[in-house]
Amino acid sequence: MPAVIGLGVWAGPLQATVAAKAPDRTPEQVLALVAQSRVDALSGTIEQTSDLGLPQLPKTGLGATAGAASWVDMLTAPHTARVYLDGPTRMRVQVLDQLAERDLVRSGPDLWTYNSSDNTVTHVTMPARGFKKTLPSALPARVESPDQLARQFLSAVGPTTRVSEGPQSRMAGRAAYHLILSPRTTDTLIGSVDIAVDAATGLPLGVTVLARGQEKPALQVQFTQLSLAAPAADVFRFVPPAGAHVQQLTLPQRPVAHPDAKLPNARLPDAKLPGVRLPGHMIQGETHRVPVTVAGTGWDAVIEAAAGTVSQQMLDNPAVAAMMHPVTGGRALSTSVFTVFVATDGRLFAGAVPLERLQAAAAAR
Amino acid sequence: MSPSPGDTGTTGPGPAALAVETHGLVKRFGHQLAVGGIDLAVPQGSVFGFLGPNGSGKTTTIRMLLALAAPTHGAVAVLGQDMPRSFRTVLPRVGALVEGPAFYPFLSGRANLHRLDAADANSPAGTRAARVDAALDRVGLTHAAGKKVRAYSLGMKQRLGIANALLAPRELMVLDEPTNGLDPQGTREVRSLVRSLATEGTTVFVSSHLLAEVEQICTHAGIMRAGLLVAQGTLAELRRDGREQVRVLTPDMARACGVLARLGLVPEIAVSVPTDDDGGLVRAPVPERRGEPADIVAALVADGVRVRGFAVEAGSLEDRFVELTGEGFEVVE
């Protein structure tokens, strides 16, 4: 947020000079623009802000929030990340924390993560293909690119959703179309989703999720700076620094996939609390076999995870406990756009729906 | 706002030119009236004594002359130019000591003067060292110039303050109680310093609550009382304004008093003069044109008063001062 203001100040004169308006396009044309978008090299800065109605932990000032509190922090505090892309196999994401940084560097088969606060490195050597979808679970960096989020929402366009277009704006100094997806049902907490699309390239530039009846965006991820030039090659070069603790991770031989799951596979680990580094054995797949079912297909879909999917240890964590509040039949985490409900028997329900829907779903079985 | 006094009558260096001129100068601190509308006129080349008891508004007036404080009402002209507007051209020609000296205690006397001189962007740096040493020499501080001011005595600080006012050739010196804290020797030195400045043509505006000091060195004086300028002019004018006095030296003091009272005078026995063989002193102010002095002597003698001495004197400045400012120790608010 602060950097946004700063950038706004800097970008001011710049915008004035290149404020030309892009040609008008229908929502369908904008969608097509997105579909045919061919941007494979970029470097940019992404801002994530959220107002989910969750308590935010006060910053201590002297260091990044460490350990268990870090994912809570991810949900509640604003974040800035720099993203570098060059072709399908070279990528770097830097989550810029205060006095710290979390990095993800992929260069060919090597995938590195680095966490400056504890000086640790993980290294994964990837097979030639097929792992792209499972990787996000291992990312320490959870600021998702607008590109990823936008595509997910676009795939949901259907009978459940009204697609309209908002007025053009400028984002990261570029003209942008705005696609507005509004759920047709009123059973969901989500009011609308606004996807900003670069008028020149069709690259999604930002996603804003508005909760029903809330004026401030519940979640906003957007580019504040963007360059489509290929980043310098040494951005993708990573050598574990001297003195760092290096951990080698081995990937399972076969990518874990759930052909019957309704949501893209990559979404599943999200339910398991972003930002928590998964121990190697979890990636190797035990936990992924726990049955996860999805009831419904639209905005009001409810995810159910059987007891034991989310470990008790995780739920008892003080940072988590502070956000869960006791409700009839269990404990719940309520935000302005999604709700998580843990029944007393350990089953977990989640969805972009009000708590009563989850409680009803729990009671129904 | 009254019209600017700087615009009138001060264009030429004629005898009437005023070094300091104020019109209806008022300074209020909240509800308190510190200066209540004064019209000062300090002729160029004069040594002007600014007299008044404690709290009568002398320092406050001086602050306004030097653009340290803004007048609530009224106008100030110093060296023919409006203050505080023209402070940039006026102040370099004015040396000042305001309400005692103030220096950086951790610097030497010489370093302090260097720093204050450098505070004026237009003071020539090339001659600074020489001017500082000359000023120190003039106040007799050369030997202590390298000492930290922290280690100075009250009188040494006062001298250093005067030295600061002397850093450059000045047309006007404003000295607020310059002899404060000085030993008799120092007081004498200040007096001769003021005289020598006056001979050089510098106008000296010196405030004091010590009458003797003013009487000894000043050509002009102004008397303040409770924020008002109750009199100003040359010393002779001030004395003349004071009423004449009959002084009778006689051993028959009570009888003399009776005679004088009968003549319509208000006699008093001067306690300050000790009674001896010749008797004591009886004095009485002469009311406006009340007969010939010789008639008074005749009346005294006729009544058998042994007159050992008789005089009709012009009023002393002290009487005038007391008359104007009151005698008590009470500070007039």
Binding site: T45, W112 | L116
Partner: protein, 249 residues
């Protein structure tokens, strides 16, 4: 005061040298890297000095600018010299900024010196995990000093303004330092997020952006704009107050 600031890195280095292994994630950022590389002494000292010691010393200097002269009585002699009120303010402010430069440089240089004396010095790992040579690292530390100096410039203007409000230097210093602490406390309260970008202390810790690869200049720019804003506003306030102030001390 500069000596006290120089003592911070020296103290940190000596303590780390004498103590056993420092576990990562404990104590101030970078503390655990010192034993591997002496260059981190300066960075650690900066992290330690920014919330309290630097605002404290700069607050003392800035709060003293005008009020100190008034308290000693020298203000009237400077003005009668005549120094000119605007010029006096400008010179006093520049003096405070020079102190900021000296203070941050002292921390960096003393930290580098004691670090080199007590610990091995070599290529430095940046926050991004990339490694740069010792020369480049020292250069970045100097950039950090510049960043922190800029960070303190707006704060010094606030102190200058407060200093024109009173003739009691201690009061002005205390008020200035209290403001620095209040600003940091407000900045840590998420409920006041709307206020954060306007707090002069908001970007103080973002000097770390100079320790990333590639360097992020955004926060440097945003910080400079913010501090320039504070300088403009509080400089104008100080001028407005001082130009018409009766000097009665």
């Amino acid at each position: 005061m500069l000596a006290a600031l120089a003592a911070i890195p020296v103290l940190i280095a000596v303590v780390v040298r004498l103590s056993a292994h420092v576990p990562p994630g404990r104590g101030p950022v970078f503390l655990d890297r010192i034993t591997q590389n002496g260059m981190f002494v300066a960075a650690t000292a900066m992290v330690v000095a920014i919330p309290l010691f630097l605002p404290l010393t700069v607050g003392v200097v800035a709060g003293d600018t005008v009020a100190g002269e008034a308290g000693m009585g020298t203000l009237r002699y400077l003005l009668v010299a005549p120094a000119g009120r605007i010029r006096l303010l400008v010179v006093k402010y520049l003096g405070a900024v020079v102190f900021c430069v000296a203070a941050t440089l002292v921390i960096v240089l003393a930290g580098s010196a004691i670090g080199a004396l007590l610990f091995p010095v070599g290529p430095v790992t940046l926050l991004s995990g990339d490694t740069v040579g010792a020369g480049q690292a020292e250069w970045r530390l100097v950039l950090v000093a510049a960043y922190v100096t800029v960070s303190l410039a707006g704060f010094a203007a606030v102190g200058l303004f407060i200093s024109t409000l009173t003739d009691a230097p201690v009061g002005a210093m205390a008020a200035t330092v209290v403001l620095a602490i209040a600003s940091q406390v407000l900045d840590s309260l998420p409920q006041l997020a709307w206020l954060h970008p306007w707090l002069f202390s908001h970007y103080w810790f973002d000097f770390a952006d100079l320790l990333r690869q590639p360097v992020t200049w955004d926060s440097f720019g945003a910080n400079a704009v913010l501090q320039a804003g504070y300088l403009a506003v509080f400089g104008a306030l100080a001028y407005g107050r001082f130009a018409s102030k009766d000097v009665l001390s």
